[in-house]
Amino acid sequence: MITISRKYELIVKTNLSAYAIANAKELVPSAKILGSTMGAVNKMLSLSQELKLLMPEIIGLAAVSPDWDRMIARYWNSLSEPIPYVGKTLETGFKYDLNDVTKKEYINAINTQIKEEDKKIKTDEDLKTYIYLKLSEVEDAYKAAILEANSLSERDKETALKAAYNAKYAKIWNIEAEHYKVGTPIEPFQYLLWKYCLVCSHVANEFSFAEKSMNIEFYLSSEDNKKQLERIKIQTKNKAMEKYLSIITSKKNVADILFAIGLGGKIFDLAKDNEGADLDLQLHVLLQSTMDKDPAKFISLASDKNIALKGLIEKYVTYNIFKRIQGTNIITDYTNPSKIIGNDLDAAVTFCSNPENVAVVSEYETRFKDLNSKFS
């Protein structure tokens, strides 16, 4: 028999309301209650076979009892688990034993489905590998999906990240639904509570998703998870650096990105005080600090196919060809503010790309060129 520990921390999300801050001194240390939700309870109740195997020792009732279904539903609907602010450790690891008679039937069924002889389950280690191989494939797919999402525009990135996250945990849920067939949880209640958390709408399955919704009150964290986040952070930084190195080969590209992210005023000031190589250097420093501040956002900006046009529009705003109405994102013609170019930068891009507006866009180009600025 082999035992593989896999610990998760269930942590209360620190989301101090202004009211909590105002009364921080008087708040008595307490725990937050993880309650039941209909969706998560129903998901748990759907694991009928697994619950029959793992829960008799938790609720003290045999699975053959006529009250079984009612008592199991009552158990999960009554969930009221205090989670200390310091976190609660959940041992979700398993014991794998090829000689466990309760697993024989399941293992035979799995082996029947595996065609290659060398891949059939023959050892305790194989039992573990059967699950962990699938889990690692899910992790790899998730990592790849995150990297790909980071190169998308800000709006698309959020959607892609959410889709990758949902896909990952739907797959993990399915894999874990088979886990009991090849092993026995070290701590059955903690393992089941972890599974409950995976499908509970008030729990984020990883820290990076804890802030994605006001509905989330807890998040799961594991050492693996932390390491994975660190790996993704470094990979994202490397990719951002690649983009940076390719951008600085062109003066125009550098200016386009900096203008597009709204640094027009700063560039205008730098251009007043610096010339030639000095100005280039200053702009590179500015670009680098933008990259360091948020590498993922930098990648998405650098990959934006409209970045040159966005940069141009912001140049127009900086050099008074266009005007942004104070306190809004609305961009208008500078000399004729009633002529709206767009309600925001994206809408202005649509306006400037529209073939019907070629004549007027070309007039703006001429006006800008006539200014003879360093960025014309």
């Binding site: 009211y19 105002a22 993880l34 309650g35 039941s36 939700t37 209909m38 008592m71 310091v86």
Partner: protein, 492 residues
């Protein structure tokens, strides 16, 4: 809206019995109380306003400074004996082993010299050796020693995770030459909330004040009228009450840690204060959890948790407010429990009774549950959970479960007892002198009788054919002791 039949107003034919609005005759605060009584207590639509304003539970306060609507109240909590670990000094693998002292940084100096201490896992008995040494903000270095005869005993690493609480134990000293110890007292703490301002206006123009309709409307004080304006004003008042009631439940405190309010009026740049409502108070203080299908176990655990917070005299009857969905959940929970205990016959005898004319009647329902400690839990329907603004939102968005909006299943236990100082636990708070202010902005439009003595004035505020009835009020809520109230949110 039904089509209106119009007629000219005639004083002889149509008498206006709407005396409540004659606000020159009635003090505005009493007026407000009377309205709450009429439309609040009777209809159960406004449980919070009925509990507070409707039962003289209104406290008027004078702001300390202009625009500062904060108020505080004293709370005497239970003596605090726990202290939070910051870190173990030295990082040894087996702290305390071999009778060796070890040092721990604690977040405060709660533990006193020579007192005992118990770490989080309760597996060791420790003693504080000497006074703590202050090592910066929120850092106090303590020296501990294990009280044991076993040289192998040590304090497990899990006890030193930052944020873990340890508890103080009784002081132990030697039989001779011992030094005196010390003790702590606890001053009352201060809780803060703030009230906000709400303003409602009713605008009219033309001769609507004198229009009568071909249908009769009920008057709030009893009786009927064919006049349109009393009916419209009744709608205005009921809607205003609804908004006020919802605000007491759902308002969110909006002053940041530096005391700045970021919600600013776009015209005047004046801050708009809002206080914490009942839901935010209970969520902030962890008197909150979600539920899916109500069970007796869940009710038990909530009640047990509440009473572990109180050691003094506690109310014996607990009122849980909920909507139609919640009372059905409650009934189902008790019936399921009775089923589990095989009380089929007893239940059946109560459930199926003789009806009229030889027919049988099916259906009796639970609305009370008595715990082993003698506490009676009573479930009470409050229509705001079924028909309030959040319920309306749920209905519009299709957030329905078994025919009721999700909000209808939310359950809130409000401790409405008197506190030990003889005050109501839940109080409505308002600014002194500005609890409720009413006035009329008068143009050339005829004013209805219901707008009070102002209608007699010949002075105009506007040249336009218009007029408006204005109400400005201040409102906040105080829950003096939050530990005996609870919020169970239905979650899907």
């Amino acid at each position: 809206m039904r089509e209106l039949y119009t007629d000219t107003y005639n004083n002889e034919r149509y008498t206006d019995e709407n005396v409540l609005y004659k606000n020159k005759l009635i003090d505005p605060v009493s007026l407000s109380t009377a309205l709450t009584y009429l439309w609040g207590k009777d209809s159960e639509m406004f449980p919070l306003l009925s509990l507070t304003e409707g039962q003289s539970g209104l406290v008027s306060l004078t702001p300390k400074t202009l625009n500062d609507t904060q108020y505080t109240w004293n709370v005497m909590g239970r003596m605090k004996h726990v202290s939070k670990v910051v870190a173990l000094i030295g990082g040894q693998s087996y702290p305390g082993q071999g009778f060796q002292p070890f040092q721990v940084v604690m977040e405060d100096d709660t533990f006193l010299r020579y007192y005992g201490a118990t770490p989080a896992d309760k597996l060791n008995n420790l003693r504080v050796q000497g006074d703590p040494i202050r090592d910066g903000a929120n850092r106090y270095i303590y020296t501990f020693r294990i009280n044991t005869a076993n040289p192998a005993e040590y304090v497990a690493a899990s006890n030193f995770i930052a944020g873990t609480y340890w508890v103080q134990a009784p002081p132990s000293v030697a039989g001779a030459y011992s030094e005196g110890t010390s003790s702590r007292s606890q001053a009352p703490g201060k809780w803060t909330n703030q009230f906000g301002f709400l303003r409602f206006s009713k605008n009219i123009s033309g001769n609507v004040a004198n229009k009568v309709t071909n249908i009769e409307f009920d008057l709030e004080g009893g009786g009927k009228t064919n006049l349109w304006m009393p009916h419209e004003m009744k709608q205005f008042e009921i809607d205003r009450r609804l908004m006020l009631e919802e605000d007491l439940w759902n308002s969110v405190y909006n002053r940041d840690q530096y005391g700045v309010i970021h919600l600013i009026d776009e015209k005047t740049n004046q801050p708009i204060p809002k206080g914490a409502g009942i839901k935010e108070i209970l969520k902030t203080t962890d008197q909150y959890e979600t539920y899916s299908v109500l069970t007796v176990d869940k009710l038990d655990s909530v009640v047990n948790r509440l009473f572990s917070n109180r050691v003094d005299k506690t109310p014996m009857e607990l009122i849980f407010y909920t909507g139609s969905g919640g009372i059905r959940m409650f009934n189902e929970a008790i019936k399921n429990e009775a089923g589990t205990q095989s009380y089929y016959q007893a239940l059946g005898e109560k459930e199926i009774t003789s009806g009229k004319d030889g027919y049988l009647s099916y259906g009796t329902y639970f609305n009370q549950f008595k715990t082993i400690d003698g506490h009676i839990i009573t479930i009470k329907k409050a229509s705001i959970f079924d028909n309030g603004l959040y319920a309306e939102l749920d209905k519009a968005n299709g957030n329905m479960y078994k025919g009721f909006p999700d909000t209808s299943y939310d359950i809130i236990l409000l401790d409405q007892s008197m506190t030990s100082d003889g005050e109501r636990n839940i109080q409505l708070v308002a600014e002194k002198g500005r609890e409720i202010l009413t006035g009329v902005y008068k143009g050339l439009t005829n004013l209805p009788e219901s707008w009070g003595a102002i209608r007699e004035s010949k002075l105009l505020s506007s040249k336009t054919d218009e007029a408006s009835y204005e109400v400005l009020m201040s409102q906040g809520i105080t829950m003096k002791n939050y530990t005996t109230s609870y919020y169970m949110k239905f979650s899907r």
